[in-house]
Amino acid sequence: MVRLPYLTALTTLLSYGILFVFGHLRDFFRKIFDWSKSNNLQGYAPICLGYEDFYTRRLYLRIQDCFGRPISSAPDSWFDVVERYSNDNNKTLHRTEKTTKCLNLGSYNYLGFAAADEYCTPRVIESLKQYSVSTCSTRVDGGTTKLHTELEELVARFVGKPAAVLFGMGYVTNSAIIPALIGKGGLIISDSLNHNSIVNGARGSGATVRVFQHNNAPHLEEVLREQIAHGQPRTHRPWKKIIVIIEGIYSMEGELCKLPEIIAVCKKYKVYTYLDEAHSIGAVGQTGRGVCELLGVDTADIDIMMGTFTKSFGSCGGYIAASKEIIQHLKRTCPAHLYATSMSPPAVQQVISAMKVILGEDGTNRGAKKLAQIRENSNFFRSELQKMGFEVLGDNDSPIMPIMLYNPAKIPAFSRECLHQNVAIVTVAFPATPLLLARARICISAAHSREDLIKALEVISKVGDLVGIKYFPVEPVKPNKVEHLKKIE
């Protein structure tokens, strides 16, 4: 939960107000100066009309160098950030040849498979030589290889469902599956903070979409009762089916979903559940099996479990795991299976090897060590940050921790200052988060050692003092009293 102090809210609004006023003034003068210049559009409407791209031009371009920083090595715990310069006040950025080695607190590398790994990489290179880079074909035509069938069985076994199907990209998995499951006459109830891919999939399906308050099972029950009782809008016919879509870990908050309560509500009202485990598969749970294992929910209670391989397994692609009938149906109708190029074979081999390491089937206990390491790292880092007085969101055991910044000026200040001290941080602002709630997001990895974390804490504390984001009083003695932190005066 975010507790926004009044003074901070006021100053943030004031900052945004000043930025908007300046932006409008500059637009006004730009219009006057361009009156004389001829318009070379010749009757075509411009690509962006009026104020559609006001935010981009006047706010985002000022701090453009904090986003999209190119790197020139693998996204491991330390990586090389390419330096960029600008000649026209951040409107265009050019790369240089110089790089700086920085500590990586931004990439989704939860179990440390991002760089070349001693078990995975030789096998990936072998599969590259055997199956080549791509199959150039869809799964149903001639793009299914032995690796794909092996991975589908392995994923089903890992997640705990009877069958699974693979896709080449996580975003497309959501956007193409939801229309195949539900159409006009159905209802989708999704959490208010769901990812853009789910929103796109829900919109593309043609079903009615309703939203329930984030992680609030009583509100979900209220919405369900009202919707089932009233039926479809205007005709009041009963809904054909209802699907509730939730995520395992929400990537902007770092919170786990309240899975047991939500599943109990869904079972009571006979609605289907769809769980998106993009960030939680492989990263939480005793053996890395995701939020179901962590929160003690039986996987048979959830109808469809979706996940991606980008985050914990260091590869690309997504999967859906469900009962055999659902998977057969999806293989026949899902457009991403029928029309899209199948997943690249080396990427498939990377996931197979990574899963074998996690399950311990490669003959070592590296998997268990990695899982223990990430849990320990996240809990240590989170408690230390809270002791220093930062406002950190998220639950224990979650490897994502956002630190609240609020003011728009603190976003580039924090980001640039940390980069000077060789720590690479990700800052997020509108439109990925609400306007007033800008934050810096840290993703911990199992590849970070204790020294790396201590260095990161030093730098963040120093920069935090400089920028002024320690909204809570520093706690010297009691590290675990998270619930009793006082509001700022």
Partner: protein, 479 residues
């Protein structure tokens, strides 16, 4: 009786009119009060009284908790997926080697016509070497979206290479082939814009058109007269031409039919009616044109006239991902507003380096294009007299499309017939062919058929073998 009524009515009327015409009875505050003023005042009071009464509405009774409980108990949802019957299960052939012109399926070596490996780059030595180097340096995945440390220098190099190859100012990479077009269209077309699209576009384009919420008008497949009519109609009806963005969406080589779009005609129409073109070159990039630069090269149209070009790299370039290219304004706009670019992890770096190596290969060996063209011509010739099937694709298209001469009646029996042809060709003659499979979500109405993807690395004997096999199997099955 009637007389009495008349008398009573007359006397009442007299009485009322006497009051009405009564002379001034009193003077109040200097205003003389006539009799009729009293009646009018009384009327006004009565009207006001009625207006202030609440109108009668039947009282709203919200559902009680018990009633809601009963409704929830009664409600029975449909099953999540329909019942799967035995004949609906389909197991695709499993490859045990690379998807080159000769592949191994179920232990046997087959001639592979199901991979869109147009330039024969699957298994190429140089590409494999550059990938191995990239894998050892960068690992497999890129672990982040482009805005958050997922931009690796190979991505930027790849974008510049493609832009230089095509002759456009800039380009942008996407991490998956089909997500390119359905992210590009909603980034540029919003509610209220007008799009004129071909009715044979594939599902990803249809999804992009639906997500954009613009007004979409379809014209007959590859018919320029129909396009002109639709453009005329739309221009006549549009009210604010300066504020409404208008687009024509076409594919260079249509996946669903193998036809090639006549680009010079389309550019002429676009300039006449002031529309922008979005061209999807997934199957023509690296195939058409003297140097493989696509449809613009082939038709002799300068590349600046096409506003937005998108392509998937999973075909001629034998890698994965997609790109979009155009003017600097077009590409910059997508970096913040294209959802498949902003909210998704970036392309794995080894695929980007494979794309760079593939474009290098194409620049250095343009002779591979003429080999591809000879192969297509040979196959086209051989397949012109298959019993029961007729060629439906363009003579230059690397997707050779055969459809049934006479439909058997229903869509399902057509599919079964084509599937059995493909199955027999695989089992008896070791020729792997693909049938078009349509998703139930696809709105395209073009006929289904058999598709052969011709590659530059197919030898003449492969092509003759495939043609002979098809002729034999079709004669057996369609008689």
């Amino acid at each position: 009786m009637a007389l009495a009524m008349v008398n009573v009515t007359a006397s009442v009327l007299d009485w009322v009119s006497s009051y009405f015409d009564a002379p001034t009875r009193a003077v109040v505050f200097g205003v003389p009060i006539d009799g009729h003023l009293v009646v009018e005042a009384l009327l006004v009071v009565v009207i006001l009284f009625q207006l202030t009464r609440k109108s009668y509405k039947p009282p709203k009774k919200p559902l009680t908790e018990k009633e809601i409980d009963e409704l929830c108990d009664d409600w029975v949802p449909e099953p999540l997926t329909p019942q799967i019957t035995e004949d609906m299960t389909y197991e695709p052939p499993t490859l045990e080697s690379a998807a080159g012109p000769h592949a191994i399926v179920n232990g046997k070596e087959v001639v592979n016509f199901a991979s869109a490996n147009y330039l024969g780059l699957v298994g190429n030595e140089k590409i494999t070497d550059s990938c191995v180097g990239a894998l050892e340096k960068y690992g497999v995945g890129s672990c982040g979206p482009r805005g958050f440390y997922g931009t690796i220098d190979v991505h930027l190099d790849c974008e510049q290479k493609i832009a230089k190859f095509l002759g456009t100012p800039d380009s942008i990479l996407y991490s998956y082939g089909i997500s390119t077009i359905f992210s590009v269209i909603p980034a540029f077309c919003k509610k209220g814009d007008i799009i004129v699209a071909d009715e044979g576009v594939h599902w990803a384009v249809q999804n992009g058109l639906y997500l954009s919420r613009s007004t979409v008008v379809y014209f007959k497949h590859n018919d320029m007269k129909s396009l002109e009519n639709k453009l005329e109609e739309v221009t006549r009806r549009s009210k604010h031409p300066e504020k409404v963005r208008r687009y024509i969406v076409v594919e260079a080589i249509y996946q669903n039919s193998g036809q090639i779009a006549p680009l010079d005609e389309i550019v002429r129409l676009k300039e006449k009616y002031r529309f922008r073109i979005i061209l999807d070159e997934s199957h023509s990039f690296g195939v058409l044109g003297n140097s493989g630069r696509g449809l613009a090269d082939h038709c002799g149209v300068p590349i600046e006239k096409i506003d937005i070009i998108t392509a998937g790299m999973g075909n001629a370039l034998a890698t994965d991902g997609g790109f979009c290219t155009g003017s600097v304004r077009v590409v910059d706009h997508q970096r913040l507003s294209s959802s498949g670019y902003v909210f998704s992890a970036s392309l794995p770096p080894y695929l980007a380096s494979a794309a760079i190596a593939a474009v290098d290969y194409l620049e250095e060996n343009p002779s591979v294009l003429s080999k591809l063209r000879t192969n297509i011509a040979t196959l086209f010739n051989e397949l012109s007299d298959v019993p029961g099937l007729v060629l439906a694709s363009h003579i230059l298209s690397p997707i050779v499309f055969l459809k049934l001469k006479k439909s058997t009646g229903t869509g399902k029996t057509d599919i079964d017939l084509l599937d059995s042809i493909a199955k027999q060709a695989l089992e008896e003659d070791s020729v792997l062919i693909a049938t078009t499979k349509r998703s139930s979500l696809d709105k395209c109405k073009l006929p289904i058929g058999l598709r052969l993807f011709v590659s530059a690395s197919h030898s003449e004997s492969d092509l003759l073998k495939a043609a002979a096999s098809l002729k034999r199997v079709a004669a057996l099955v369609i008689s």
